[in-house]
């Protein structure tokens, strides 16, 4: 008997829900409000990413439909290309500099200015300023700074009575110069994340440590930094994902040169994929970038989730 009544109850509650939903325009609301986001996101985010994987199996200049199926040849060419090795290595260097130089610098400065005083607010604004400037503008300003004829470095060499160095045209110095600009541009962003976290550390914990006789450095090391671990983890994530995508700054500064020594993954895929209309080949580089980004993100999440639990 009970098996007979059960579906009936179920059905009634469903029609009830339906009637109720219709009366308040629940379905109309879903049908009107949701599709724009779904369509835009699918069309311009998900589909292109899927397309990249598809195109990467063809030799294709972007016109007509891709027909010349080459299998994994694009990937093989990519892995054989010494410029791509340089691009990968440069990207790795950017990640390392972000984690090892930029983040500690940002943390140190955050500890110096996190308290809410007028002068601190001023310093914070100044440090954060480069972050909101367009990368291309920053790159152009710094290519003036490093210019061998007119720039500030040229002037410094001159004053010291040395021969001027064309920093951005020098294989040895061009990439370190770019890394300097990237630290300059982004440290303020990480600092802001730490400041937000430091301001939420309970004051009595810091007071208690001070009463116990802890020096400021000890308070920072043993109280504040452990308590903002989450913020550090988050900023590390942004540093890595951001480093993987560096493009805008390189174009005005070196455009990948001299002799292709300052490419990153993205300038590589732009230069060798789009500028030369090797859509299939460039897509293979895009797939590598995508896999690296997702892979590192997942690995990082796992590694830090364990770390944060302890």
């Amino acid at each position: 008997m009970s098996t007979l009544t059960r579906p009936a109850v179920h059905r009634r509650s469903n029609t009830d829900r339906l009637r109720q939903g219709l009366a308040n325009g629940k379905f109309t609301a879903v049908l009107i409000l949701l599709p724009p986001a779904l369509i835009l996101f699918s069309l311009f985010v998900i589909l292109p990413l899927a397309d990249a994987a598809y195109y990467s199996a063809f030799s294709w200049n972007g016109y007509g439909t891709p027909t010349n199926f080459v299998g994994t040849q694009n990937y093989e060419r990519l892995l054989d290309h010494s410029v791509f090795h340089t691009a990968l290595w440069n990207t790795a260097k950017l990640i390392l500099v972000s984690l090892i130089i930029q983040m500690p610098l940002a943390l140190g400065l955050a500890l110096l200015v996190y308290r809410k005083t007028p002068t601190n607010t001023l310093f914070r604004l100044v440090f954060f300023l480069p972050y909101i400037l367009a990368e291309v503008a920053a790159g152009l300003i710094w290519s003036f700074v490093f210019d061998g004829d007119y720039g500030i470095t040229a002037f410094m060499f001159q004053t010291l009575g040395q021969e001027s160095v064309y920093v951005l045209a020098d294989r040895q110095w061009a990439f370190p110069a770019i890394m300097t600009v990237i630290v300059w541009k982004y440290f303020g962003f990480h600092m802001m994340i730490y400041i937000a976290a430091l301001q939420s550390v309970p004051k009595d914990l810091i007071e208690a440590a001070k009463l116990e006789g802890a020096k400021p450095r000890q308070v920072a090391l043993f109280v504040q930094i452990p308590l903002i671990k989450h913020a550090i983890v988050v900023s590390g994530f942004f540093a890595i994902i951001g480093s993987l995508q560096i493009f805008d700054i390189i174009i005005p500064m070196t455009n990948g040169g001299p002799s292709n020594s300052t490419h990153t993954i993205v300038t590589y895929l732009y230069t060798f994929g789009l500028s030369r209309l090797n859509i299939g080949f460039g897509s293979a580089a895009a797939v590598v970038l995508f896999v690296l980004a997702i892979g590192i993100a997942l690995f990082y999440q796992r590694a830090t989730a364990k770390e944060e639990r302890t």
Binding site: V45, P48, A137, L140, I294
Partner: protein, 275 residues
């Protein structure tokens, strides 16, 4: 006591040193815009001999500068408008209406938080071209909106979830529909988060370089970063002109930042802490 003052002096010295390294290049380019190229060679960093504004005036009188700025302004404004409307609408559904599959669709739309934009740039170029949108404003607006949606939806939903439920129940009893509730209650109550996301999206769009570079070829539709690179290509080593141009393009950004910094910082740290 004296060790504390010593420490504080050291702290201020470090801060001033870092601040001058940060500001130095920006001031140098502002000053540089007033100099002649010959003066730049001997004095690239400090105040100009004479405050001669002719480089700035020349750029102001050049119609291209205003066209680039206008294009960027239109594209950024439309991106903001579209992201706010489309993102808030979707977030409202996820916050207020449960239906079969809604959680899955929600997770799907948040996937964009993990994806590197640059990985999609070549197929985006093909897609935009096949849709016949190359060299139109929409070629930049639509993909930018799509890539900004994930963060917008994340932030909007978190905000909508905190709005008082009693409000909706009261309106519901009075026969208010979901659509009307969204329009007359949710949106007006959400101005803080709309402002935060709006300012953040505006800055991102204003500074965007890669996407316009790929989908815009016609100079008349260039955004200012493209125009600036074009200008640099024309003036090559006339650094005084280039510095004047750069200074003029970053000045509105700096003013905007000073006016809206509260929202910019909130968008950043809010997005990072919740993401």
């Amino acid at each position: 006591m004296s060790s504390a003052t010593f420490r504080n002096t050291l702290r201020v010295i470090v801060l001033i040193l870092v601040a001058s390294l940060v500001i130095g290049p920006l001031l140098a380019s502002f000053f540089g815009g007033f100099k002649t190229n010959a003066e730049l060679r001997t004095n690239p960093l400090w105040l100009p001999d004479a405050w001669n504004p002719q480089n700035y005036v020349a750029i102001f009188l050049d119609g291209n500068f205003w066209r680039y700025m206008g294009n960027s302004f239109f594209i950024s404004s439309m991106t903001v408008l579209l992201t706010l409307v489309v993102g808030a609408a979707a977030a409202y559904v996820f916050s207020q209406i449960r239906f079969f599959g809604s959680r899955m669709i929600h997770s799907y739309l948040l996937l964009g938080l993990m994806f590197p934009f640059a990985a999609a740039i070549l197929p985006l170029f093909i897609k935009v071209r096949d849709l016949g949108l190359l060299d139109t404003y929409w070629a930049v607006i639509l993909p930018q909106t799509a890539f900004g949606l994930s963060l917008a939806i994340l932030l909007f939903k978190a905000f909508f979830d905190q709005l008082p439920k009693e409000l909706f129940e009261a309106a519901y009893v009075d026969g208010c529909s979901y659509l009307r509730f969204f329009w007359s209650f949710t949106l007006p109550l959400s101005t803080p988060i709309l402002a935060t996301v709006g300012v953040f999206v505006f800055v991102q769009s204003w500074n965007n370089f890669l996407l316009p570079l790929v989908v815009l070829n016609d100079r008349s539709i260039y955004t200012w970063p493209l125009g600036m690179m074009q200008f640099q290509g024309e003036y090559l080593t006339q650094w005084n002109m280039i510095l004047a141009f750069v200074t003029l393009t970053i000045t509105p950004a700096v003013i905007f930042f000073l006016a809206a910094q509260k929202y910019i910082v909130a968008g950043l740290t809010g997005g990072s802490v919740k993401g």
